[in-house]
Each structure stands twice: as C-alpha cells, then as structure tokens.
C-alpha cells in the first residue's frame, strides 16, 4: 500500500514535441537535398605518343562546328539546334554498308556505313558560350539515347529509359552496344574569341 502511494509521478511529456521539432529542424537545415545532376562525359587521356590516328572515312564523320556566335555548322550546312538531333540520328542510323540489321536508315552513300563506324566530331570556338556547348552535347547524347530507345522498343518491347540499371544490366549493355556513343571533341578554334 505504502509503496503504491509513493509511485514516481509521470514525467511530463509535453515538451516531447519541442524536442522532435528541434531535431526535425536540425536535420532539415543540415541535409542538402539537391542531388547533383548533369551530363556525364569522359575526357580523353593526353597522348604522349604522337601516333597517327587510324584513318576514318570522310563519310563516317559527322562534323559539328559551333562558332563564337553560337551558330551551328553541321556537315557544311547551317543548322538550327532543334534540327541537330534528327540529323545526328539519321547519320548514325544510316547503315550505308547494310551490315546493321536493326538500323532503320536510308542507306545514303554519302552518310555513315554503320553505327559502329559512325563518329561524331564536335568542334567549338573559344568564344562559344558554355550554355550552347551543353545544349549541343545534350542533343548529341539525346540522339544516341533516342536510337537506343527505338532499338529496345523493337527488340525487347520495352522502354530503354525506364529500365532498371541493376535488374536489366544485361539488356542495357546489349542496347548500349548496339549504339555506342562515339563523340569526339577537337581542340577548340580561336577565331572569334
């Protein structure tokens, strides 16, 4: 009886909320939520050996030039940025020698042999704006991604972009292999810098 009467009173939990809010605010402030995003690229190593690069046929090179006024010259033609993606896709998917079984290109004799041989060559001026450069890069990457999308849709009946990197590793590898990104960058010019 006596023990019951002397029971410790309940601890006031009214401030629990304060503590919780405190923690919440603290974590809200410290965690940086913005995951960084961007276009991944790989730089070529600097060659110490001045070895002649293997000759590439003119028809297998898709030249993209960007001048200091952010204008595009693609395959010696003036082009708007909105047309670049379609033009690049046409070039990669051309299938001039007929060795690419999944390509949908027109097989034009002046365009690329097959996606493996097709190389996109990008050259910009030192005066080109970074914004334009990223836009061009974006369009060229998008061209490859769109082709992969079409390929995956035809071969597997699935969307390439929505594949899971771990679950569909094999398929992604296969699709990537069908259209390998080949974007080569030349040293920038300095005309209108």
């Amino acid at each position: 009886m006596a023990r019951n009467k002397r029971a410790i009173p309940e601890i006031n939990a009214g401030s629990m909320a304060d503590i919780a809010f405190l923690l919440l605010i603290f974590y809200l402030v410290t965690t940086t939520m913005d995951t960084d995003k961007g276009i991944n690229r790989k730089l070529p190593p600097i060659d110490e050996l001045t070895e002649e690069p293997p000759p590439i046929k003119e028809r297998n090179i898709f030249t993209v030039l960007v001048n200091s006024n952010d204008q595009l010259l693609v395959e010696d033609e003036y082009l708007e940025i909105s047309e670049l993606r379609a033009k690049a896709m046409e070039f990669i998917d051309n299938n001039g020698d007929g060795s690419c079984t999944y390509c949908k290109g027109y097989g034009i004799s002046s365009s690329s042999d097959n996606p493996v041989k097709a190389v996109i060559s990008l050259q910009n001026d030192r005066g080109t704006s970074y914004g334009m450069y990223v836009k061009v890069q974006n369009e060229l990457v998008a061209a490859y991604e769109d082709l992969r999308e079409i390929y995956a849709e035809n071969e597997y009946g699935r969307s390439y972009r929505s594949m899971d990197p771990e679950e569909d590793e094999e398929i992604i590898k296969e699709v990537k292999n069908a259209y390998q990104q080949k974007i080569s960058e030349a040293e920038p010019l300095n005309i209108g810098g």
Partner: protein
C-alpha cells in the same frame, strides 16, 4: 488521518519542465552556430545550363566541384567581371586546378580514386575558352571523369529558343 496525510506529502512532485523549451532552444542555437555546412560559399554567380539527358551523380563523397563564372556583385570591385574559377572557397587560377585535383585525390582511398568525378559547375554565359582550359588541366591531372552540371529542363522545346 494524520498518518495518511504525511504519506501524501512524501510523494514526489512532478518534475518541473517549464525550462525545457529554453534548453531546447539553447541547443538549437548552438547547433545552428556550430555546424559547418559543407556547402561552399559561392563567390562566382552560377546560372547552370539546362539539359534533358542528365544523370544523377551518385556518391557525393566522390564528387569534386569546380565552379566557373563571373564574380558576384560584392567581389566585383576587387576581381572585376571576367569569369573566374573557384575551387573550394577561394578564387583560383588555371594553374591551381592540377594541384587541387591531386590534393582531392589524396583524400580518397585507393579503390575510390578511379571513380572520382569532377563536376564542372559553370555559368551558361561563360565562354568555352575557359572551360576548355579547365578540361585540359583536368586531363593533365588525369581526372577524366567529368560531369557538366546542369538543371533538368522543364520543357525540352524551350531548349531550342535562343534565350535559354
């Protein structure tokens, strides 16, 4: 009766918690002042370009940032408006890029080093001359994995207009 009353007096009074909010706020202020946010103090203004084909940068600890852009308003008296490079918390010159990359690489473990990514956070108005110079320095420092930091484009069509 008297006996019962005596026992009631001996019961512990409720703990006074009226000072708890004060303690809590004290803690809050302490942390607010003491925590060092690893977010660097941007000295250059960076208005990132927009793109659609972007990938997330996994593992933030392996990402090193290089900022490029015009100095912010309050630094313009001293440094002018020409785009500059910022490494960590200070303005830097091109020659500082290589040592910076090497120093950053030292902080990573052996197996992490090949996975190191250099994220270039540059303003979209910066001329490619500066970016190319940075890229050349990175190549010299053997940091080949790079990322052009950009914001996801809300509308892909908007990318095609001159005013990006």
């Amino acid at each position: 009766m008297a006996v019962i009353k005596k026992k009631k007096d001996k019961a512990l009074p409720a703990v006074n918690t009226s000072a708890l909010p004060d303690i809590v706020f004290m803690l809050l202020f302490f942390f607010m002042v003491a925590t060092v946010m690893r977010e660097v103090d941007l000295k250059v203004s960076v208005n990132k370009p927009q793109a659609t084909e972007i990938q997330k940068l996994e593992r933030k600890s392996l990402v090193t940032y290089i900022y490029a852009g015009s100095p912010r308003q309050k630094y313009q008296d001293k440094f002018g408006k020409t785009p500059r490079i910022q490494l960590n918390d200070a303005f830097a010159s091109l020659d500082d890029v290589q040592p910076f990359v090497i120093q950053e690489r030292e902080t990573k473990t052996e197996e992490e080093r090949p996975m190191m990514t250099m994220s270039i956070k540059a303003d979209k108005t910066v001329k490619m001359g500066l970016i190319s110079d940075i890229k050349l320095e990175l190549r010299k420092a053997q940091a080949y994995k790079i990322n052009y930091s950009s914001n996801p484009a809300k509308d892909a069509q908007a990318l095609y207009t001159a005013d990006y």
